[in-house]
Symmetry: C2
Subunit: 383 residues, 2 copies
């Protein structure tokens, strides 16, 4: 595995600042995308402990070589430590936390399981000095919210370069689909296989999610999985696919009607395209994400398709295919999110009419100082 360049020191510094702001002495990062973001480490296990001084990656024996490569690729001043989990990862985390003397330890509440939280808490308490007293209190785990995600929501230069390149590659895949890959007589699953192969050939590591090819009435199900259904002339066909490129996700949807288009399809398509364009037009620093959603929703409502649009307008993209920010209706239970330069998200309004079918159009945008850059460049109508 090639060892990438090292933007990690500045990312860790940013997360450490968040931790200090939250009154935390240390942070245990266990969500794989966050571990990767802060260390470059990619694996099915691995944790990162960030305290006020140090920054330690914990790996098991399977990943020790890779961990050491990551460590040695850094300059000495900013060096990450690498620690082998000799017994379990959790025991190693607890031993390390004890050695730091940290008292308030943030964990990632959105992804850490209740069982792991209880295991770590019990182990920390078991090692605390007795009797407990104010000079040597028992360390506590604090349910942290978005500790790393606050940094990840704004992409840095290296991330933007990667996502921009990925957007270009995905656009090429989309532009090559018609008329050969998507045509009457083929099965949904075969079209999906071809799209996946085209993504790999374009340079993607893998699909970012299970490719959706939904034809005819299936297209009315926003999350349909490809079936053995054969595409027919007259079918709306919804194609939603994305790839992972050097760890980063991009995502695109187009909908076509096979053969001569019908008035009903054209009407829905025009409405969704207008909603899509209105939402993209609304993107700029300072606007609320809910206002971008409203821009799309308003267009569909005005055309009688408000109820046909049951999902949000978009979602953030990065190391995960669904991350912050969410571009959706205002949620009274949460503070509103203002758009900032460097955010990357999808714009994907849709309309779904049970029995007839659906239309969705999705592109990826990067927020810039004066609006946004559309990272996927594909005509709305690829048919």
């Amino acid at each position: 595995m090639a060892v990438p360049a090292f933007p990690y020191h500045s990312r860790v510094t940013s997360v450490r600042a968040t931790a200090i702001e939250l009154g935390l002495d240390a942070v245990v990062v266990t969500h794989p995308a966050n571990v990767r973001y802060l260390s470059g480490f990619v694996g099915t296990a691995g944790a990162l402990v960030i305290d006020r001084q140090r920054w330690t990656l914990i790996v098991d024996f399977r990943y020790l070589t890779f961990g050491r490569e990551l460590q040695s690729a850094q300059d000495e001043l900013t060096s990450m430590n690498v620690l082998l989990a000799e017994r379990s990862e959790d025991e190693t985390i607890v031993d390390l936390l004890r050695s730091t003397g940290a008292q308030r330890i943030g964990i990632e509440a959105a992804s850490m399981s209740v069982a792991r939280f209880n295991r770590l808490s019990t182990a920390l308490a078991a090692g605390a000095p007795t009797p407990l007293n104010a000079d040597a209190p028992c360390p506590v785990l604090v349910a942290g919210d978005r500790i790393v995600e606050r940094s990840r929501i704004i992409k840095d230069t290296m991330e933007i370069e990667t996502i921009r390149r990925a957007g270009l590659l995905l656009s090429r895949v989309a532009r090559a689909l018609m008329p050969d890959v998507v045509r009457a007589g083929r099965r949904e699953v075969d079209v999906a296989t071809d799209i996946d192969r085209a993504m790999r050939e374009a340079g993607f590591d893998r699909p970012a999610f299970e490719t959706i090819v939904a034809s005819g009435p299936q297209s009315a199900l926003p999350h349909a999985r490809p079936t053995a259904r054969v595409l027919h002339v007259g079918d709306p066909v919804l194609l939603d696919f994305g790839g992972v490129y050097d760890g980063y996700c991009v995502d695109l949807t187009r909908t076509v009607q096979l053969g001569p288009s019908t008035a009903e399809f054209r009407r829905m398509f025009a409405a969704v395209a207008a909603a899509h364009d209105a939402a993209i037009g609304a993107v700029r620093p300072g606007v609320l994400t809910a206002d971008i959603d409203y821009a799309a929703r308003q267009v569909l409502e005005a055309r009688g398709l408000g109820d046909a649009f049951g999902h949000g307008t978009g979602h953030g993209l990065g190391l995960e295919v669904h991350e912050e920010p969410r571009i959706s209706k205002r949620d009274p239970g949460r503070p509103p999110t203002a758009v900032e330069c460097g955010m990357v998200f999808t714009i994907e309004p849709g309309a779904y009419v049970p029995g007839f079918g659906g239309v969705r159009l999705e592109d990826d945008v990067l927020v810039t100082a004066d609006g946004c850059e559309v990272l996927t460049q594909v005509p709305n109508e690829i048919g």
Copy 2:
């Protein structure tokens, strides 16, 4: 999506018995594989609430049609209820739990996040009658351990049929790899792409995990990902792949050396093959999983490769590619697991020598009354 036959009522009955044994009035099932196991529901969201009387699937609008199909496919006596999450899934769960009057509510601690646990707990407490008293105590969420997994570890007839069929299909894919797909001059990624395509063509829904094609020194990394490395004559090539068939996972590994085999490779291969055969020979009802692991480990130790075998001997297969039972060293912190009829797991010893390469051989077995049935039928040497 085809609606499957309904083994769900007996599975729910078994989980309800576990809940009663644990003193729980209700169980909230949120781990997707467990929701699927108990209802047939497949989706990115969805929860199941099982109380002493009812059995309710909660879905959002995207999955309402599918949920209703699942419901109507059952006979009336055993019917599952389907509830639309009008607001959030969590709010619907809390409303439903309140309506049942359940006091001790089991959640799945191994997978539920700390944040969700806190959200549900707070919402339940907010709705509790005040002042609190013994007649109307506040409902509590109890961190449940393996509530559904205790049932899943023993496969039922329908599951066994599916996995048996999947094993046959995966064996066919493996037997067709040599000499064309895996040969000198090809890149690891291209071999992986071909394996994935062959699995799809054989009838698998998708790969069960990212296919491993690890050649030359890469083969010494047990979890290597395919790279652009070109296969050369003399390379050991480790191929580890699996497919999901009708929801169920199978998993297989073979290792070949390209061109004339070397004495060092033959020595490692023979040792791993002997360990693999010894472990399979040890499988029968009543034996401890740690003893199966020991059977493999002992063979490798006797040949000086004990330290080269750093992982466990196997893992359970089912709706997840890594599930119970684990076939590994005795863990002093956990009760031992005895093998039972109807368990399905992999046997996959390996030996890895940094700088030279690795060998792993993996098959899937079903425990039977007098030993086991090997579900993957492929010669150890496919070269």
